[in-house]
Amino acid sequence: MAIHLDRRHALAAALGSAAFATGLVPGRHAEAATAQYLEALARVLDGREPLPGGIAIDAPEVAEDGNMVAVSIRVESPMTEADHVRRIVLLSTRNPVAEIASFHLTRHSGEAFVSNRIRLSESQDIVVVAEFADGTLRQARREVRVTVGGCGSV
């Protein structure tokens, strides 16, 4: 058992922060992502391969209260008629329900930005998928450690 844990930590260290920054490599909690999250992600991706980068997720590294975690998402896009973000999907990897929210933007949005307060039942990665007008996708993830989970209300 101890050997197994050591190997996992060694793997995490080997992947390093550079790989994590691409947004596609899971943080330390993602190894325990629920099957339900994987199904939700597959529905959003719908067979498409997301690109890394271009998404900034603003969330606390440590959230004191999982019942109310402020999360802001900004996607790089000119937001023109031809080239804009048409949908942003926010997923949790460990909540009882993976889909936290989806946001439909328009050419009137001007910028691809949303801000919310979410529930996190425990420490985990949150994942954002942005869908562009041409159907291409970008994906990013962010780890949030939760001191007191939103178990009671999530």
Binding site: N67, L105, V114, R117, R119, G152
Partner: protein, 111 residues
Amino acid sequence: MSYVENVRPRLRVPATAAAGEVVEIRTLISHPMESGHRTDGEGNPIPRLIITTMFATFNGEEVFRAHWGSGIAANPYQAFTLRVDEPGTLEVVWQDEAGHEWRDSASIAVG
């Protein structure tokens, strides 16, 4: 007393924007967003009752729509952006699973 009596929608927009300016719209509504994952004092499950949809129109045209799940916190806050090309009225609508609907609106001048 029903939770409905305590629901208050709130909308914060800038009163004035420059033509073409992208402004941030902030919305808040007091609603329990009962997740469906809680139990009462006797261990009985409390049914889910959340706002699932909020959308915004500007001069009648839809500019933003959000679908919320149980992972959105109670008293849901939603901010989004709007490019203001002309003066007009922003209206926001919230709809919950019990069939209740709330609206709030505000004017934005261009100058």
